[in-house]
Amino acid sequence: MDSLSTGSLSGVQKEELMDQVKQQIAIANAQELLTKMSEKCFKKCINKPGTSLDNSEQKCIAMCMDRYMDAWNLVSRTYSSRIQRERNNM
């Protein structure tokens, strides 16, 4: 793309561009979450890496992933309501 001279984009092209941007952001978000989860749950569940992931380790990882998502959603809710409160105080 040559700079952001978008005046000549048709409506359809513009919608495609917006969809692409949204998709890229969603992918980046998912990747961030995956990286964090792997790192955090490896730390919590694998004490001594053995020759394979044993059953209890796999169970721990599964549970850890679910709890990480729970925590993520809780943080999201807490942060949103804080932003809301700060806005009301302004």
């Binding site: 952001l4 978008t6 005046g7 984009l9 513009k14 919608e15 561009l17 917006m18 941007v21 949204k22 952001i25 980046a28 978000n29 961030e32 979450l33 964090k36 955090k40 749950c41 919590k44 569940c45 721990c60 549970m63 850890c64 679910d66 709890r67 990480y68 729970d70 925590a71 993520w72 809780l74 943080v75 999201s76 807490t78 942060y79 804080r82």
Partner: protein
Amino acid sequence: MSDLSDYSPTKGADSELQDFLLAEKQKAQFHAQIHEFNDFCWDKCVDKPGAKLDSRTETCITNCVERFIDVSLLITNRFAQMLEKGGGMH
């Protein structure tokens, strides 16, 4: 999310795209902040991931996010005062 429903054809193409990108940027920053809080508060609050987040952990995570924001605000304000007094950085 408002999506494309509030598209107004009177606005120029560029300003519509700019609004869209600004909104997406803000959403991305919001998400990045949640990732950061969750990273930090997970380490502080979660011991062994169990079958669900217990209420103690939930309280810890909520407090962790709130206090972290308090600290950022406090430091920002105090830093601003420091700059006003002309002290600190030279």
